[in-house]
Amino acid sequence: MFKKHKPVPLAFMIMSLLYFFYVVSLGSSKMIGDELGGDPGGMVLPLFLSIFMFLASTYLMITDTRTSEEKVEKFGPDERRLFALTFLMAITYVLAMRMIGFVLSTVILSFSLTFFYLRGTVRKRDLKAWALGSLISTALLLALYSLARVLTRFLLIGGRTGSVPPWMGTNGFVIGASLLLVSILYLPVAILGWKKVKTLSLGSSARDAFVSLLVSVATTELLYLFFRQLFLVELVRGLVAW
């Protein structure tokens, strides 16, 4: 049935009907303290909207049909897999974030998506490289993260208690120092590793895994430093409780 008609108007027809019944069941709520009257109440506008949306979507259901040039292109099998992967991982990411925390969930999501996008599809024989790669990215990131955390806490607490000069305990200095430390540790790993991977000629899946590793570790750590430390957003800690 969706060859000619589009699913969107139909969805809106159903939704506006449900909305209509919902609004009616909710009833009209009056402004508090409206003794003399005059408040049109909370139902007028939603009711109007639901009727309007029903009429408009019915009209579009009839008139807005697919033209020949507007045909939805078919998914290729590879795209379909990547699409499904992205969809599932995104949902998992949102649901699992609170439990496993920002750092772990982000590095795994970032690594997995980058890796499979680079591969161009999801295949069984890439799974081993994926699993190993996720593990190493996580380990590398945790190492960088933990070192930066130790430094951060040392400086912040030291700045307050007086064991280091107060200016070293300011937020700006701490971020600068953490960024420097992380870069010093990250760059050699990246450069040496890249050389290794090149010389070892491990095949394309290992190379893609390595690129994904570098990207995901850098992304996650930088996002952490910017959002958490510079702009004070409280990112979930989850499993990485320190």
């Binding site: 303290g33 380990a139 951060t152």
Partner: protein
């Protein structure tokens, strides 16, 4: 094989880090130097409640070195923001910019409000003033009331939100004068000021501090407090009994306080109360209160609980009479 050895090295490194980090964070300190303390202001930015808590937050930040962040969560009087604190954790990292608006919203059944919150510190009292734009015909409260009674429902009386303290005051006023005003809630003090200035609403109930900021354009008719204003520029404004209505008592003002979720540890509450104390008595905050006509009534913890009980007692009869009392304990 090489790869495996790298993994092993990394994992060992990681275990070391974990141990170090875990050892480093053993002593739980409140407030954690990395955490921010959020102040939920249940009104929109720019109104007098918002300004008071922003100023206080800056001083608390200065005296303690901890980050205090103000977030405005508006809606349903002040209930939405209050619920935000109630639904949060009782860990001392979030407190409510509370006050008379909390009392009013709780009694109207919009939130569990003070039943779920603990007292930390009371800050100040801000008397309400009934004012109209200078080009309106009424020069005294009596003229206004007579006019309103002669054509009920025609004169609009605005407040800064029904859940808030000006809402209760306007309802109380309307009850006292035979329900002759059309009482309309606005979205916070700033919205009310611009609507009265623009002539869209006839009469407004403002905080004293809001009237001062626009004293060229407003004609204050009466101050809803027992005594006249402590400010030189407003001491000619009559109180209700001088304006000819000695029998009417209305909770005519708002006070602001700090409340946290019930169950917050005593140490955390004490730290917050002490920090608020220091910030409150700082030169800047005192100057700010003086400039904006706020009357300091500082008290912390138990003292404040007793003070709050008198406010609650003042509010109950008015809201019950107006039919707005919906508190279920």
């Amino acid at each position: 094989m090489k790869k495996k050895s790298i993994v092993v090295i990394l994992l060992v490194l990681l275990a070391g880090m974990t141990f170090l980090a875990a050892a480093g964070s053993k002593e739980a300190i409140y407030p954690d130097p990395e955490k921010n303390i959020t102040i939920v202001v249940p009104h929109s930015p720019g109104g007098s409640t918002d300004l008071i808590f922003r100023t206080l937050a800056e001083e608390m930040k200065r005296v303690s070195g901890v980050n205090f962040i103000v977030t405005n969560i508006t809606g349903a009087g002040s209930a939405t923001g209050t619920n935000e604190v109630i639904n949060g954790k009782a860990d001392g990292y979030m407190f409510l910019g509370a006050g008379t608006h909390t009392t009013a919203a709780t009694m109207q059944g919009l939130t569990k409000g003070y039943l779920e919150l603990d007292h930390v510190a009371a800050l100040n009292w801000d008397p309400f003033i009934i004012a109209v734009r200078t080009d309106k015909p009424w020069t005294t409260l009596k003229e206004l009331i007579e006019d309103a009674k002669s054509r009920p429902g025609k004169i609009t009386l605005g407040n800064a939100g029904m859940g808030g303290a000006t809402g209760v005051a306007s309802v109380g006023l309307n009850l006292a004068f035979g329900k002759s005003f059309n009482v309309t809630p606005f979205n916070g003090g700033a919205d009310l000021i611009s609507s009265v200035l623009g002539g869209h609403c006839d009469v407004g109930i403002f905080s004293q501090s809001e009237v001062i900021a626009n004293k060229e354009s407003f004609r204050p008719l009466a101050i809803l407090a027992d005594e006249r204003s402590s400010l030189a520029s407003l001491d000619s404004v009559p109180n209700l009994s001088d304006a000819g209505y000695p029998d009417i008592t209305i909770p005519g003002g708002s006070f602001r306080s700090i409340m946290v979720k019930k169950g917050t540890g005593e140490a955390e509450k004490k730290w917050l109360a002490e920090t608020a104390d220091k910030a409150f008595h700082s030169e800047n905050f005192q100057k700010f209160m003086k400039n904006s006509g706020l009357i300091p009534v500082f008290s912390t913890l138990e003292d404040f609980a007793a003070y709050d009980a008198t406010i609650v007692a003042d509010y109950e009869p008015i809201l019950k009479e107006a039919g707005l009392y919906k508190l279920t304990k």
